[in-house]
Symmetry: C2
Subunit: 535 residues, 2 copies
């Protein structure tokens, strides 16, 4: 049955098919546009509730990990349907909790349901398992060759930490949840305290989908909790086998430390900070100054700059053409009104970052508005700073992220300065080049540096707008993420929550369908060294 | 040119195309069959030599990471050819350093060269890169879809720690080196102090192959060193991007800690300990008692028990059929002469493990010979212990590895005892079942437990003998390995030393060939969601 449209929030953690609120501590969401609390209170999960959710997930794993790709596909598709069914109550609640406009929430809902359906396709197809078969050669000399078959199998229960900046697409039913569920792993989400109502609504949609499609109790839970206790307990628990996280560097590295210190260390996929350097090369600037400035302005202010792929540092050659571009960009940024940020914590961190830049030696402030002292204190005003490569290279805080609509422009003169500045960056989600063919030839040394530093190289476009598709990589070397081998967006993400298992001389009846003779699932697999496509 | 057949060892670290011995500290290999030192001394790498090798590897990365799969294939094939060319000096030296017999060293050489050639095939084919293309849809509403392409690219310089128990196949030109070089990563090997001469000979073969096939200086280095200083320095160095290790749990976890504490944490693939539980189910035992006992004896004593996949714990049902099997196995083990172990450290650890078992309450010693007090002290004598599930469940040391030809038999009565005992195991490389169809039906609960615990499930065979092929998984959950998502044997291993990179709207000329339009390399890739096979 569809979720009840008149559903009212009850603020209780959702543990499998049950609700629970052992604990009397609670907190409420805050409407960032007014600063007012929003009803109802959300009860923090108690340690026994955390334990219950984990035990249930671990019990569910045995059955859930053995469901077919088709069964998981139907579950994911039903989640998408259930989320769509509550659009009328979900959209206003998400808007109220995040300050994000209706079009963005609706667009993000579409992205979230599209992502669930894409992972459903991947689960149904089954080729993601990297099934491989090497058949036996019983008379091989000097020793017989056994029959070996292997594939990716789900790791176990996964803890997912929702992000504040994408209350749907990187939250309760976001990419980590979709990919873990698609792989066959039960999921326990630690809801973000910034949008608990949105989390509860989406969790009920998932709960309803799990019941409707016959998934075991405990396949999915959501826990509410203030502070870091619930999250730390989850990550430290022996039955949790992997962690997905999107958020701050301090939060992500804290989880990495807990995971590494466990008796059995587990993988943590934390997506943390990034300044997403944008390199504007001179011939492109000479030819496209105005359109680059306009595109950069849109990218830098989209979502009040609260995107992981926000272009935080832009490298522009000194000289007239660059000056014109900077002038145009600065003008647009100056005219952009302050907008409501996601929550007071993010707003105050942004304001501190801006203030620190304003008083940094060798940094000129091109745009910066005084914080609003009357009325709403959660507004984020655009800021633009300018410096040069000498300053940039001597002060490593200039390559650190200021999460929000602030951009630092770094002017360079010689190619060698640009290359040195690129070398200075730590791992990044993206690196962008605006370049003509002439630029690419002249600055060919820039590309291998970017390749070492980033997860995605963007040509003549902007880093925001992360396409959900098979080839997307939303990852990058530390500290952009905890594990640069992987991606949190796109279908490659399904392999994060898996490990390889081989079956030697297994009876056909005990093999997963992916590995059976005759390729009953019709998937792409490697048979005796040759790729074959299924039906 | 082929390696000079009259090559004499000089004991100097091999740093790219140079030799070096800054440091006056040195150590010699020991012939475990006599206890005598073997000439020449091997000079420990100084800190400046370690730094030199790392800088050279980092410089080499820029070129080497851009070589084609075909170029790397020729390099790997040339390494195999060069190793074959020095067989006449390599075999006796390896025998002398390890105590292993000629047939084993020759067999292992063949496995090593076969492995290099298999990775050459994989590099040449290119499908391992998981190339994916999503083409642009410029008129998509509301936003254009960009062109996104992604593939696995090499991580950077890799530190490889050679294992003592496979002086060729898991050492200087072993699986980790072959897979890292195939992926496009320069390699620095920390030679195992137990077979430095073998390491130098193989390193010279790799050096000759690198020169002959035009690989950059620093693509490959070998460092000698006593203690853990050289290794720790390698793993802590910012320019090292991944670690491969095969050895003890203490060694592996020490490297994991160093890697996790770095400013930029890096992946460590450590293959550590495993007892490889073998479950003998009653109907199989009733029907195949003698052949199981014979096969188990061969598996347990192969290589003097010094295999990662040695069957250390065997679970046998109590009763007559099981008694007969245990009697037959015990008899064969009792008749097996003591043999030379790899080195005194391993021998003394084995002897301590055996002595501890002999004095463990509730454990019966079925076979154990007094250590040889005269003559060669490096002999490993077979040992067989017997206990029951009650003892096994109450004493966790009984599920710990004793590296060598010792086997612990655990007798169980009820199915529930067996399942509880299986639950007790930590992560394992392998789990083996001897079972008829009737057994598999009756004990169906055993399989999901094993699936959670191991990297490879073996039916009606034995865990030793790890086939090098596409589908092999030689891995398993911690503590069998540091990272159960991966394998150290078989072609899947190439992806360990890689990360995903995406290219958005890239000019064709700047794309790797794997991602170009028209599929010039003819590899299997995913194009707009559909698998295609190349030419």
């Amino acid at each position: 049955m569809p979720v009840d449209q008149s559903l009212s929030l009850n603020g209780r953690s959702i543990i499998g098919f049950s609700d629970s609120s052992d604990c009397h501590e609670s907190s409420k969401a805050i409407d960032p546009s007014t600063g007012n609390e929003i009803e109802p209170p959300f009860f923090h999960a108690s340690s026994s509730e955390v334990e219950w959710a984990i035990q249930l997930a671990s019990d569910a794993f045995e059955f859930y990990s053995k469901t077919s790709g088709e069964e998981r596909a139907r579950f994911l598709e039903e989640i998408a349907t259930q989320i769509e069914a509550i659009g009328e109550i979900l959209t206003p609640r998400a808007m109220q909790e995040t300050g994000l406009p209706e079009a963005r929430i609706k667009g993000e809902t579409g992205r979230t349901t599209g992502q669930l359906r894409l992972f459903a396709q991947v689960a149904r197809d089954g080729s993601w398992t990297q099934a491989r078969i090497d058949t036996a050669i019983p008379d091989r000399m000097p020793l017989p060759k056994p029959d070996i078959r292997s594939m990716l199998r789900p790791l176990g229960p996964v803890a997912v930490f929702a992000a504040s900046n994408f209350p749907l697409a990187f939250s309760t039913a976001g990419g980590d949840t979709a990919s873990a569920l698609a792989a066959g792993c039960p999921v326990i989400v630690k809801a973000h305290s910034s949008h608990p109502g949105t989390a509860e609504l989406v969790a009920r949609a998932i709960q309803a989908a799990a019941e409707k499609t016959g998934m075991p109790d405990g396949t999915f839970s959501v826990l509410f909790g203030g502070g870091r206790t619930v999250g730390s307990t989850l990550v430290a628990h022996p039955l949790i086998k992997a962690v997905g996280f999107t958020g701050s560097t301090s939060g992500g590295t804290a989880l990495m430390k807990i995971a590494a210190a466990r008796k059995e260390p587990i993988p943590v996929y934390a997506e943390m900070g990034s300044v997403n350097p944008v390199v504007l090369l001179p011939d492109a600037v000479a030819k496209q100054s105005e359109s680059i400035a306009a595109g950069l302005h849109i990218s830098a202010t989209m979502g009040v700059g609260q995107f992981c792929t926000n272009p935080g540092v832009v490298l522009v050659k000194s000289g007239d053409a660059g000056d014109a571009l900077v002038r145009s960009f600065t003008e647009k940024m100056g005219e952009t009104p302050a907008q409501v940020m996601l929550n007071p914590t993010i707003q105050s961190a942004y304001q501190s970052g801006v203030s620190a830049m304003e008083s940094t030696e060798g940094v000129a402030t091109l745009v910066s508005k005084a914080p609003d002292s009357s009325g709403n204190s959660c507004l984020g005003a655009t800021a633009v700073f300018e410096t040069d490569t000498t300053q940039f290279l001597s002060n490593e805080t200039l390559s650190q992220e200021i999460f929000g609509p602030g951009t630092t422009i770094v002017r360079w003169s010689e190619k060698s300065d640009l290359l040195q500045a690129l070398e200075r960056f730590e791992g990044q989600l993206t690196g962008t080049l605006h370049a003509t063919d002439k630029d690419l030839e002249e600055f060919s040394e820039a590309l291998p540096i970017l390749e070492r530093k980033v997860g995605r190289i963007v040509y003549n476009a902007f880093p925001t707008g992360v396409e959900v598709c098979h080839s997307m990589v939303h990852g990058g070397p530390f500290p952009a993420t905890s594990d640069g081998r992987s991606t949190s967006v796109g279908t490659h993400a399904i392999s994060r929550f898996t490990r390889l298992i081989a079956y030697q001389d297994s009876p056909q009846s005990l093999l997963p369908d992916e590995l059976k003779n005759g390729n009953p699932l019709g998937l792409a697999r490697l048979e005796d060294g040759a790729f074959v496509l299924g039906s």
